[in-house]
């Protein structure tokens, strides 16, 4: 076996995978940097609008402080659109800013202690902080006015509106600053060393010809994915921390300047500064100054303590950006695994004859639609359900949903009901076997066919139709039997539903048994007859054992579907009366959609997950058995 023939492509695959992973990491990092810049620009614009004093009052004394305080609102994206392009009108001077005041305000930003952002303020199109910076174009402003934010030349631009928050007065730009992102010396992340390691591992395996060590390369690729994720998470964390720290400076500054001298600033006035940027300001207590993460009501929040004035503290809270970082795994993991997959494919191609390669490729081609279908409609929703079960109203709550499932008083009741309900399965299986034996014995005559069709007809009907039909029968009475309102009687409701289930399922189970009976060679029964076995002995000793795979199939699938019963209960009783027909699947539905606006989705899916685990625990031995008997059949 020549090692070099696939060694170079293998290293190339490893390189591609490593670069792709690094690219994703870099993309994610710059995404968080841009998010930070945009957020910071918006906060700064709100801050400027709040603290810049009004123009000096040549005509008449201008608004009293109280009125102005009410106006310190953040810019609204839904401001009426700008006037038509050619004549872009800036805010009339009266409501706008006094240029010298704005100028000094903008310059002052640079001198805020601990301020890390690189910021520029434009009055109209003119830069104020760094006068030599290129001015904006009127087009930039127009676009800002209509769209709210803009990303231009590596800088986040947001509109600076007048103090009443109405018309455009200028813009605030924040350049995302490349701070050291990684935890390693020199700001190096984990991803780059991990990528080098992975490529090195691939090279070592490929060139030294150690095929058995490729497990090591898969480990290296996984390590690369983990390292990349760690870097992305760090970037997300830093972006939140920097916003907290820089916003703290603005708030401290604003606290000193918003109120007229001698008046203490109110919490609301300060809270208005951050409320449109995803922040929340509450009264706080003294604590360490660095941003940290705390659990508040079971939800993780990033907080920083701000001192405003003597003995006054507020706490700035926001959602940590790293909470949504795990979604990057969806990109990172496949990228990192490109390498191992490529190497495995190369090795497979080297070992496999060309013809078999073609056959395999065709087979995979035919499998692809099924795989895609499985991914999109089965595995995807299942993963989404797990996600939903761990969240509540969009935030991570861990296992809280599961706890509320266990605390649900109806849960155990509905579990018991489901168990009782599933007892219809043995009954219907026995009836189905009996029906199948009768139909099979008469299979060549019209009576047998008619009997089979009669048994089968409920099975091909819609469950809803069956339910409605039986509701009518129970309510109105039929066949000379008077009105038997079993569905509304707490003691009989479940049994009444079970009766309908038997009626609906016998046909399908009979079909399975008929197939099984048809597969028993007649010579077995002939041999048994000559051997002296009577009809009863032939059934117990020959027919029933030979039907065993089919019996197990019917029983296991019957129990599985009994555990999932929903439609009958939904149409007939809605779980009533008094929860006497409340079954697991219906309880899931009620928890998920019963509370207003789907607030219980998380609890509902948690319940569903719990039911799934239960079903698996209960059915696992039977499923194992089923696969065995199906193999035997």
């Amino acid at each position: 076996m020549s090692t070099t023939r696939w060694a170079i492509p293998a290293v190339a695959a490893a390189l591609v995978a490593a670069s792709a992973t690094l690219l994703v990491v870099r993309g994610a990092q710059s995404r968080y940097e841009r998010e930070f810049a945009m957020r910071m620009a918006r906060t700064t614009a709100t801050y400027i609008a709040a603290v810049t004093p009004p123009p000096p009052p040549p005509p008449a004394p201008r608004p009293p402080p109280a009125a102005r305080r009410g106006r310190t609102r953040a810019p609204q994206p839904s401001v009426p659109p700008a006037p038509p392009p050619p004549a872009l009108q800036l805010s009339p001077a009266a409501r706008s800013y006094h240029l010298p005041a704005l100028l000094s305000q903008a310059r002052a930003l640079k001198t805020l202690p601990g301020w890390t952002s690189e910021v520029e303020v434009y009055y109209g199109t003119a830069p104020l902080v760094d006068a030599t910076a290129p001015p904006l174009t009127p087009d930039d402003l127009r676009e800002l006015d209509s769209k709210g934010t803009r990303w231009r030349g590596g800088v986040a631009l947001v509109p600076l509106r007048d103090r009443q928050g109405r018309e455009l007065a200028g813009a605030v730009a924040v350049r995302p600053l490349r701070v050291p992102r990684g935890p390693l010396p020199g700001g190096l992340g984990f991803a780059l060393p991990a990528a080098l390691l992975a490529v090195g591992a691939a090279g070592a395996i490929a060139f030294r010809g150690r095929p058995l060590r490729r497990g090591g390369y898969i480990a290296a690729a996984l390590l690369l994915a983990v390292a990349g994720f760690s870097d992305v998470r760090t970037a997300a964390r830093i972006s939140t921390d920097r916003w907290l720290v820089d916003t703290r400076r603005l708030i401290q500054d604003a606290a000193a300047r918003i109120p007229p001298p001698g008046v203490r600033v109110t919490l609301n006035e300060l809270a208005a500064l951050v409320q449109n940027t995803g922040g929340e300001l509450v009264d706080g207590e003294p604590g360490e100054s660095a941003p940290r993460r705390v659990q508040i009501d079971g939800v993780e929040r990033a907080v920083v303590v701000i001192t405003i004035g003597s003995n006054r503290w507020v706490e700035l809270r926001t959602t940590p950006a790293e909470l949504d970082a795990p979604r990057w795994i969806i990109l990172l993991l496949p990228c990192a695994l490109l390498g191992p997959i490529g190497i495995l494919l190369l090795r497979w191609a080297e070992r496999t004859p060309v013809r078999q390669q073609r056959v395999s490729a065709i087979a995979w081609g035919f499998l692809t639609p099924a795989i895609v279908h499985l991914l999109v409609f089965t595995i995807g929703p299942a993963i989404f359900a797990i996600y939903l079960a761990l969240h509540s109203a969009g935030t991570v709550v861990g296992l809280a949903n599961f706890r509320s499932v266990l605390d649900d008083p109806v849960m155990w009741h509905s579990f018991r009901n489901t168990l009782v309900y599933s007892l219809y399965v043995p009954v219907s299986v026995a009836l189905a076997l009996f029906a199948a034996l009768m139909v099979h014995a008469h299979r060549t005559r019209w009576s047998g066919r008619l009997l089979g069709a009669a048994f089968l007809s409920p099975y091909v009907c819609s469950v809803v139709a069956i339910a409605l039909l039986w509701q009518l029968i129970y309510q109105m009475g039929s066949l000379g039997v008077g009105r038997v309102d079993w569905l509304n009687n707490q003691a009989t409701a479940l049994a009444a539903v079970m009766l309908i289930a038997i009626w609906a399922h016998v046909g399908g189970q009979m079909m399975v048994f008929l197939v099984g009976l048809r597969r028993i060679p007649p010579s077995y029964l002939d041999a048994a007859r000559v051997d002296g076995a009577g009809a009863w002995q032939r059934f117990w000793r020959i027919t029933l054992p030979l039907l065993r795979p089919f019996t197990w199939f019917v029983v296991v699938t019957g129990f599985i579907s009994a555990f999932q019963v929903f439609t009958l209960v939904f149409v007939l009783t809605q779980g009533g009366p008094l929860h006497s027909t409340d079954v697991l699947a219906y309880r899931v539905y009620q928890l998920a959609w019963g509370s207003p606006a789907g607030a219980g989705i998380g609890v509902g899916t948690a319940f569903a997950a719990a039911v799934f685990v239960l079903v698996v625990i209960f059915r696992w031995p039977q499923l194992k058995l089923l696969s065995r008997v199906v193999r035997d059949a």
Binding site: T444, P521, Y524, D526, R529, D531, G532, A533, R541
Partner: protein, 354 residues
């Protein structure tokens, strides 16, 4: 150990197919009778009627002194071995052999003893605890025999038990079967479509054709004095040549014309349309125009000790069996001679002319 008598037995199936025309058959006590016939000849139906698996449309089956026509298979005290061989797949060899005893509620100790006895007799002791699908074809057929033997029935019915085996195994098991028959001394009816098998094991052979019993006799009788043209054709490898012809008067005595052959032969009782039978070994080849006629050589099959030469005589096929390697080339004309003493004559309907 009981004789079997079948009286006027017939069977019409549900669709109106007459599978059996009324037939009489007598199987002597302890005899091994072979029911021979091509597929569809009704031989299996006869067997199933005797076993009680089919209800005859008319006629009676007598086993020993009892008329069993209306009895169930269980009450007839017969054992049957099937072609496929119908071992219960969910039971071990031991349980399969024990099955006929267990359904008859024989005591467990006795079951164990008799199963072991039967297994020893058939060389199955080592495989008693295997499942049927773990056995070879030959072992499976032996287990089926064991299941029949274990009960010690009066009558054994064997429905093509060896047809699924390869040639070598078939010959070996044939010998075992004969030894078993000698040892048990039971009455056996053996159904087969293989005339070689019938000749080698049958004490008597009953030949069936299209639901009719054509002849019952010893292998020698069936071979040498076929009672019907179908029997003649069916028995022997290859079977007898049967040619359509007619007798007529000629200058010197009388002759029979079959295709391109003109065979001088005295006919005492018959003239006109007839069928002439001649076994391949009594057809000899000679130079063209030196025999009773000429034939085209179609196929030459050398078998080593002998050669089969397939000929065409005026549109009718004729097979000659010649010793060693024949000097006949495909596509040439060759002369044919027949041994006149070995010629069989049948009338147009197939009955022998004497």
């Amino acid at each position: 150990m009981a004789p079997i008598t079948v009286r006027r037995l017939s069977k019409v199936f549900d669709g109106g197919v007459q599978a059996l025309h009324p037939l009489d058959l007598e199987v002597r006590d302890g005899e091994l009778l072979v029911l021979l016939g091509p597929s569809g000849s009704g031989k299996t139906t006869v067997l199933r009627c005797i076993a009680g698996l089919e209800v005859p449309s008319s006629g009676d089956v007598v086993i020993g002194e009892r008329v069993v026509t209306q009895l169930s298979p269980a009450e007839r005290d017969v054992a049957m071995v099937f072609q496929n061989p119908a071992l219960y797949p969910h039971l071990t060899v031991r349980e399969n052999i024990a099955f006929p005893l267990e359904v008859r509620r024989v005591a467990a100790a006795q079951v164990a003893r008799r199963v072991l006895e039967a297994a020893t007799r058939l060389g199955l002791k080592d495989v008693l605890d295997r499942m049927p699908d773990q056995l070879s074809e030959g072992e499976r057929q032996r287990v089926a025999l064991g299941r029949a033997v274990v009960r010690g029935p009066q009558v054994f019915l064997l429905d093509e038990p060896l047809s699924r085996l390869d040639a070598r195994l078939r010959i070996a098991l044939r010998g075992e079967l004969l030894a078993l028959h000698r040892a048990l001394g039971a009455t056996m009816i053996y159904v087969t479509h293989d005339q070689t098998e019938a000749m080698t094991i049958g004490q008597r052979i009953a030949v069936l054709h299209e639901g009719r019993l054509l002849q019952v006799g010893t292998p020698e009788e069936v071979y040498q004095r076929p009672a019907d043209v179908h029997v003649a054709r069916f028995v022997g490898t290859p079977g007898m040549n049967v040619l359509q012809g007619r007798g007529r008067a000629a200058e010197k005595g009388r002759v029979i014309e079959v295709g391109s052959l003109v065979i001088p032969m005295e006919l005492s009782t018959y003239e006109g349309e007839l069928q002439l039978g001649i076994r391949p070994e009594f057809v000899t080849l000679c130079a063209a125009n030196h025999g009773v006629g000429n034939a085209d050589v179609l196929v030459v099959e050398p078998l080593g000790s002998e050669t089969l030469v397939h000929l065409d005589v005026g549109g009718q096929p004729l097979v000659a069996r010649v010793p060693g390697f024949a000097d006949a080339r495909v596509g040439t004309q060759i002369g044919v001679k027949v041994d006149r003493r070995r010629v069989y004559l049948f009338d147009a309907a197939g009955a022998p002319l004497t």
